[in-house]
Each structure stands twice: as C-alpha cells, then as structure tokens.
C-alpha cells in the first residue's frame, strides 16, 4: 500500500492495488451472533455483512456491543451461538491471518516497554512477513522518527497510529478498526479518511466502528447500527438516510442515528 502520512500531515497518496494472490477480497459475514457474559446478553442474534470494496460503519452508543462484535469476528472472544466468518471461514482458519485481516482493537495493545519497531517486528515475524514490512508500516502511519521510543512514552495519538500500522502491516484484504479516530490529530484523521476510502476502492473490505459519526459519514458506504446488543439498522448509507424524511432535503447520518438509538 502506498499511502503514507507525511511528517507535515500531508498525505502522500498513490493508487492502492487490489489484494494479491491468495488474499482475495473477502466479505465479513456475521450470522445470528449471540454473546452472553455472566448471564447478560451483550449481543442478541446479530446478523450483518460487510462487503468487499465498501466501507461499513459500525455505529452505536457506548455499551452497544460494537467492540464485542469485532472481537468475536477476530476470534478474540468466543460467541455463545451463531458464527462470524471472513471469506467464508472463521478467522482462525486462515493461513497467514495478518495478510487476510488487519485489525486494530485498542491503542494499548503494545507492551509499554517495547518500542514501535519491536512491536511491529513481532507481528511481522508471527506471520512470515519480510523485515522490510516494518519500516514500511512505520512510514505509512508517520511514526518512523519515533520508532525506537518505548510505547509508554508515546501519546495516545501515536499509540493509535502504531495500532493502525499493526493493522496495515500485512497489506490485508480486510481491515477491521475499532474506534480508530480516538486521539488522532487533524492530519492523521484526514489521512485515515483517505486511506479507508482508498482501501475500499481497491476492493478491500473495511469495517470500522466509530462514535465520530460526522467523520465516518463522508467515507462509509454501508451502516450497521447496534444498540443494546441488537441490530437497529443494517443497510447502505443511501437507503438508511433516505428512509428518514427531513424538513429540508437530505438528513444527516447523525440525525438518523440519533432518531434510531434515541438522544437529542
């Protein structure tokens, strides 16, 4: 992938190629996913599909179950019933998983005493990626100059970028990001916007959860809205907002979202 976040915040963009070789574009399919934790149903028969070539926004209030769904897709958490597949198979059944799915679930996923270069080297080694993928990923997210700084000395935004580098290092066919905008500065948010769109336009599957609805609206094609562990809406963005008559023309995704989940 050739979309680097430059030191000045400028995005150096070139065309992103389609997934190569066995990394065919793959849809994420979640079917009747239910998750019960200590007797509480945090996911209740969730079903949706994130298609290749599109950015799917996973939206919902705090505690709606967004992170739980993403963790279940990645097999980090087990579903109580139902299933989640990527390209027709559970994530764990893919060989070289980092080249199939790039995931970012938390900015605190790197050991605080390890530096960014070491963290990415581990991810690369675990999936047989070439050593050159590490400096490339560091360049991509604009943290090459602090690659040898311990993670504990990085700001939230820098750790967020390291998480994105972890997700993108394998040049994956599917990208799953949980709240990637948190802590990012304006330049990085703009870079992320360009990258997510470019990934989708290259035929990759992008599933991203966010609370920044105004930020996600311009780049998403489909929306899945969760609340209370249940699906409240799952459709294309156009169909979703088109279903809400506005007083003056088209209503915003945020307005539609608030009408669905409640709140003013």
């Amino acid at each position: 992938m050739d979309l680097a976040l430059g030191p000045s915040g400028r995005v150096r963009a070139r065309m992103i190629p389609a997934p190569a070789g066995d990394r065919v574009a793959a849809a994420i399919v979640v079917e009747d996913a239910t998750k019960v934790i200590d007797g509480v149903k945090v996911l209740d028969r969730i079903s949706f599909t994130a298609r290749s070539g599109r950015v799917t926004a996973l939206l919902g209030p705090n505690g709606a179950g967004k992170s739980t769904v993403l963790r279940a897709i990645l097999g980090v958490d087990h579903l109580s019933s139902g299933r989640a597949t990527i390209g027709g198979r559970p994530f764990r059944e893919h060989r070289r998983p980092v080249q199939v799915v790039g995931a970012f679930l938390t900015p605190d996923a790197a050991h605080p005493r390890r530096n960014a270069r070491g963290h990415l080297a581990i991810v690369a080694a675990s999936n047989g990626l070439p050593r050159s993928s590490v400096p490339h990923a560091l360049e991509l997210v604009g943290i090459a100059d602090i690659a040898d700084l311990p993670v504990s000395h990085m700001s939230l935004g820098m750790r967020q970028r390291l998480g994105l580098a972890t997700a993108l290092i394998g040049d994956p066919a599917v990208v799953i990001l949980d709240e990637p905008h948190n802590g990012l500065d304006a330049a990085a948010i703009r870079w992320l916007r360009v990258v997510l769109r470019a990934l989708a336009e290259a035929g990759r599957t992008v599933l991203v959860s966010s609370n920044l609805i105004s930020e996600i609206e311009p780049i998403c094609d489909d929306v899945v809205i969760l609340a209370g562990g249940k699906i409240r809406a799952a459709s294309t963005l156009a169909d979703f907002v088109g279903g809400f008559p506005g007083a003056e023309g088209r209503v915003s995704l945020e307005e539609c979202y608030l009408r669905i989940v409640g709140g003013s």
């Binding site: 990645l74 097999g75 980090v76 799915v101 581990i122």
Partner: protein
C-alpha cells in the same frame, strides 16, 4: 508454529525487563553455589558437582517466576489481544509461548549448570573435593525447563502476575516446608518436588527417608515432568476455551 515461536522469542528479546530477567535467573544458581563454596560450607562428602547444584533451587525459582510473569503479563497489559489477532490458532499460540520460555530456560539452565560447576571448581582448594559426575547436572536443565513451563502455564491460567508468582513460589518451596502435613504421602509429594528431584539425582545433601521418592530419583523426575505436563495441558485448555 515456527513463525509463532520466533515471534514469542522476539517478545522476550524486545523488552529489556524480560531478557534482563532471564539473565538474572541464569546468574542466580551459579552465584548461590559460588557463595556456598567460597565460604567453605560444602560438606566433606560433597563433590564439586553436588556443590555446583546447591544453588539450583534459587535458579529454578527465579526461572519459574520469570516464566509466570512473561505469560501473565500479556493479560495484565492487554497485549494478548494482538497475540490472538495475529496468531488466532490458540493451540499454536500456546505451544509457541511455552516453547519459547522453555527454550530460553533450557539454554539458561545449561549455562547455569556449567558456570556453577566452573565457579565452584575455581574457588575450591585443589584436592579437597572430587569432581563427581557432572553429567547428572542435566537434571538441573530438566527441572528448570519444567518449572519455567509450569510458571508460564500458571500465568495463562491465572492471568495475574502476582497470583502466578505466588503459586510458582509455593510449588517450589512449600513441599519442603509443609511436607510434614502430608502424612504418608510426604515422600511421594516432597520427593517429586522440583528442588528435591535435583538433590536426589545429583546425590548431594542427605535427604530424610520421608523426603526421598520411594521409586528412585529418575522416577521422581518423571513424576515431576508428568505433573508439569498436566499443568501445561490445563493452561492450554484455559487459553483455548476462554475469551481473550
């Protein structure tokens, strides 16, 4: 599996505290043995080999604690999420993790035993003690690897560095301290405990009958390895079945 194992070794190599911890654990046994020998506390019946093994309990305790903190630390810091997202086959991840700590402990124990023997040889006046059979120091490697693997497995089971360290310390030290409470089972339990296994194989300090494994020293070692394998299996089940 090889890739995951390499990644686990890199995890150790890229955090200063982890590789320094391994070095300290490696140094613990020879330093203790050296101290005992240098202060003239070896018995007349001791050989240089048994003298080298006197610090073994310190070394295996240090390695057990190191294995426990390495594995449990991933949960305590939340980094297990990335491990599971990059190596989603949990059996492979577990085997790689145990294999990595066992490899480091194995090499470390070999260095421990060798340097302890050389150190004791260097500080003991010539002709005062015979060499003995240095080959029996292989038991140090066997026991250190087992205890380290158990430490890592307990770390994964408890997901808590402090709890896992407490359990490992108890497993290493408690049999000798509280063995009397075990009644007629004492020789079977104390005799198969890590420190006592080394003592029996190396043939150093005289053990009381109720601390000696009735079926012999190598049977004691086999029992200890079986118990370690059972704990390791429990760790695998915990990692595979639980949420990350």
């Amino acid at each position: 599996m090889r890739l995951a194992w390499h990644a686990e070794l890199l995890k150790i190599a890229t955090v200063r505290g982890l590789w320094i911890g391994a070095i300290i654990a490696t140094a613990a046994m020879p330093l203790t043995s050296l101290l005992v020998a240098a202060t003239g506390r070896l018995d007349a019946a001791d050989t240089l080999t048994t003298g080298a093994a006197t610090g073994a309990i310190v070394g295996l305790l240090a390695y057990g604690v190191w294995g426990a903190t390495f594995a449990a630390g991933e949960y305590a810091r939340g980094t297990i999420v990335v491990s599971l997202a990059t190596v989603p086959r949990r059996g492979v991840l577990y085997a790689a993790k145990i294999g990595a700590v066992a490899a480091v402990a194995g090499v470390g124990a070999l260095v421990c035993a060798t340097t302890a023997l050389l150190g004791v040889l260097a500080v003991t006046p010539p002709g005062q003690h015979s060499l003995g059979d240095p080959a029996v120091l292989v038991s140090v490697v066997l026991v250190v690897v087992s205890v380290t693997a158990v430490g890592a497995a307990v770390g994964i089971i408890t997901r808590s560095p402090s709890a896992s360290v407490a359990i490992v310390a108890a497993a290493v030290l408690l049999p000798n301290v509280a063995g009397g409470l075990l009644g007629r089972f004492q020789p079977w339990v104390v005799g198969a405990s890590p420190g006592t296994v080394i003592t029996q194989i190396v043939g150093g300090a005289q053990l009381a009958t109720n601390q000696t494994y009735p079926a012999g020293p190598w049977a004691a070692a086999a029992t200890m390895v079986l118990v370690a394998a059972a704990v390791a299996a429990a760790g695998a089940i915990a990692l595979i079945r639980r949420d990350g």
